[in-house]
C-alpha cells in the first residue's frame, strides 16, 4: 500500500472542509477524484502536500509512515509531489534555477550527490521534451507571465524532473485548451509506471479521456461518496453530480453547490 487515508478531517478557521476521507492507493495505480467545485478536492491535495494552514485530524500513512508528521519538504523528499491548481509566480527566481534547487534539495535529503549545472541541464532538456516546453521558459522567472497552459506544463515538467512516487495533480486540466490538455496528458502518461501512483483531481471527465484512471472516486461534501472503475466517470458525465450528491448522506448546505458538468 502506498497511501492509506483514514477518517481524514481538515478545517480552516473553524470551517470543516474535509469530513472523513478514506482512500487506499497502491503503487502503479492512477486514481481520479472527481467532484463539484467546493467539495474539498483541492483541500485534500493541499493537506497531503503539507499546507500548514489547516487543522487536520485522522491518519495518513504513506509507505507505512505517518505523512502528517512530516514537513512539506520532507514529504517532497519522501516522494510526494503536488501539481498546483494555481502555480505560484516567483519574480526574480529563474525557472531552471528553481527546478535545479528543488532537485538538489531532494537529492541532499535522500543522501545523494547534487547534480552539477551541466548534468542538470541535459536532464532538464530531456524532460522539457515530454511536455513540449520551449527552452526559453527556463531562463524566465518561475511562472511569471506564463499563460495558464504554460504554467500547467511547467508543473508537469517539474514532476518529470523530480520523479515523485506519489503525484497529486490538482485540476491540472482547468484552463487548458484541447491541445494543451493533450500535451499535459501525454507528459503525465509518460510518467506512469509500476512504482508510481497518481491522484488526478478534476472537475471534468474530459481529462480522463486522455489519462485513463484505474479507479474513479466521487468527492462530495468533504468525503468520497462513491468509488468505481473508469465507467463511473462516464456516468458522471451523463448525469452530473447532482444525483450522486443526493444519494450521499449530506449533512450541510454544501449539497446545493451546483457542480453539474456541461
Amino acid at each position: 500500500m502506498m497511501l492509506r487515508i483514514e477518517n481524514l478531517h481538515a478545517s480552516i478557521g473553524g470551517n470543516e472542509i474535509l469530513r472523513g476521507v478514506n482512500l487506499d492507493v497502491h503503487a502503479g495505480e492512477v486514481h481520479a477524484i472527481m467532484g463539484p467545485n467546493g467539495s474539498g478536492k483541492s483541500t485534500l491535495a493541499q493537506v497531503l502536500a503539507g499546507r500548514e494552514s489547516y487543522d487536520v485530524t485522522g491518519e495518513v500513512l504513506y509507505e507505512g509512515e505517518d505523512l502528517l508528521a512530516l514537513s512539506p519538504e520532507e514529504r517532497a523528499a519522501a516522494g510526494v509531489f503536488l501539481a498546483f491548481q494555481y502555480p505560484v509566480e516567483i519574480p526574480g527566481v529563474g525557472n531552471l534555477y528553481f527546478v535545479r534547487t528543488a532537485l538538489n534539495s531532494l537529492r541532499r535529503q535522500q543522501g545523494l550527490d547534487e547534480l552539477d549545472a551541466i548534468d542538470f541541464l541535459s536532464l532538464a532538456r530531456e524532460r522539457m521534451g515530454l511536455v513540449e516546453m520551449d527552452e526559453s521558459f527556463m531562463s524566465r522567472s518561475v511562472n511569471e507571465g506564463f499563460s495558464g497552459g504554460e504554467k500547467k506544463r511547467n508543473e508537469i515538467f517539474q514532476m518529470a524532473v523530480l520523479e515523485p512516487k506519489l503525484a497529486i495533480l490538482d485540476e491540472t486540466d482547468s484552463g487548458l485548451d484541447i491541445d494543451a490538455l493533450r500535451v499535459v496528458a501525454q507528459g503525465v502518461n509518460a510518467l506512469r509506471s509500476e512504482g508510481r501512483a497518481m491522484l488526478v483531481i478534476t472537475h471534468y471527465q474530459r481529462l480522463l479521456d486522455y489519462i485513463v484512471p484505474d479507479v474513479v472516486h466521487v468527492f462530495a461534501d468533504g468525503r468520497i461518496v462513491r468509488s468505481g472503475d473508469k465507467d463511473l466517470a462516464l456516468e458522471l458525465e451523463q448525469h452530473g453530480y447532482a444525483d450522486l450528491e443526493q444519494s450521499a448522506v449530506l449533512t450541510s448546505s454544501a449539497a446545493s453547490v451546483g457542480g453539474a458538468t456541461p
Binding site: 502536500a49 503539507g50 509531489f81 526574480g92 527546478v99 534547487t101 534539495s105
Partner: protein, 443 residues
Amino acid sequence: MTATTTTASPRGLAGLEPVPDDHQPSWLGGVRRAGLEWVAEHGFPTLKDEDWKYTRVGPILDVAFEPAVGGMNHRLSSSAIDDLAGDLGGTRLVFVNGYFAPELSSLAMLPEGATVTSLASVLAENADRLEPFLARPIPPQHHAFTALNAALAEDGAFIQIPPDTTIAAPIHLVFVSEVVASPLVSSPRSVVLAGARSRATIVETHIGSGGVYLTNAVTEVVLEDGAQVDHYKVQDEADTAFHLAALHVRPGRDSSFSTHALALGAAIARHEVWVRLEAEGAEVTLNGLYLPDGNQHHDNPTLIEHVAPHCTSRQLYKGVLGGHGRGVFNGNIVVGPDALGTDASQTNKNLLLSDTAEVDTRPRLEILTDDVRCTHGAAVGQLDEEAVFYLRSRGVPHQQARGVLTYAFAGEMLQLIRVGPLQSHLESKIAERLRAGRAEVRR
C-alpha cells in the same frame, strides 16, 4: 535645519580640532576653521531635525573618537583587500583610515591627461586647484558631520577626466579602516571631475577590520556637459563601526549620472545623496539596497533638486530588514518653478523578515511648477507565504526557501550593477548573508 546644542561628552567629536599645518594655503585653513565653527554654533543633529528624524547619533557622540592621522603602519595586504572589496581590475586606490596607501594601490594605464590620485598629493603640489571644491559656500544640507569632514579631511581620491575621454575599466576607491588602540574617525574627501562627454565608472568600497571606528566621508562628483559617470558605493564596514557619508552630485547639461548604494555593514550607517540638477537635459539614476540585520541601522536620505528644465531622475531603493534591523528611506524630490518638463520617479520597496525589524519610508515630492511627470511610491511587505509553500512542496527546506525568495527580492538591484566583477563579488556576499544569517524568521 534647526540649530540644536549637543549633549556629547567633552571629548569625542564635539571636542575635535584640526591638525595645525603651516604648509596649507590660507583658504584651506579658513575652510577648516569654518567647519569647526559651524559645529560649535549649530551642534550635532538630533531627532528633532527633520532630516535626522529616524537616526540617533548619540551612540556616535558617546565615543571618544580621535582623528586618524596619515602614515600609520598597517598590517593589510593587497590580497586581503581583494578578498574584502573584490578585485575589479583597473585602477585601485586604497586608503587606510582615510589616507592614501600607495603600497596597496595599483594604477592601471590611464588615458592621456586623466588624473587619478590622492587628494593629499594635489593639496601638496597644487592646492589651489581644489579651492573651487573645498571652499564652496555651505549648502543648505550641511550638518555637523559634513562640517567636520570639511574641518578634518586631508586625503581622499582626486579624479579628473579630460573632455572626450573614456576610462573603460572601473576606478576602484577602497577605504579600509584598521582599528588601533583608540577609536578613530577617518574623514576622506573625494572629488571627481568628469570633463565634457567623458565617461567613467567609479566604485567606492568601505570596509573595516572590526572594532569601533567612524568613517565620515564626503564625495563630490561634477559632470560637465554630456559626461557620463556610473558610481557605485559599497558600504561593508565592520558591524561595530559607524559610517556617515554624503555624495554631492552636480550634473552638467545632457550629462548622465547613476549611483548604486549598497549598505551591508556598520552599526549605524547613513548614506545621503544630494543631486542638484541645474543644467538642462541631465539624467540621474539613484539606486539603493540596504540590508540591516541584527541591530544595524541603515539610513538613506536622498534629495534631488530639479532646478533646470527637462531633467530626468529615477530612483529605486530596496530594503531587506531582518532581526532587529532598522532601515530608513527618506527621499525628497523638489521640482522648482523653472523645471518644466521634469520627469521624476521614486520607488521604495521593503521586505521585513522578522517581527522586530522596522522600516520608516518617506517618499516626498514637492512640485512648484506644472508640466511635469512625477511618480512616487513606497511599499512594505513580508515574504509571499504561497511562494514559500510552493518551494517547500518541491523539497526546498523552509529556511532555504525563505533565503531564495529574499535573495530574489534583493537580486533585482544586483542585476542593475554593470561592473561584472563587482556584481559577482556582491552576489556571493549577499547570497551568503541572506541564506545563512537570518535565524529569526516569521512563521
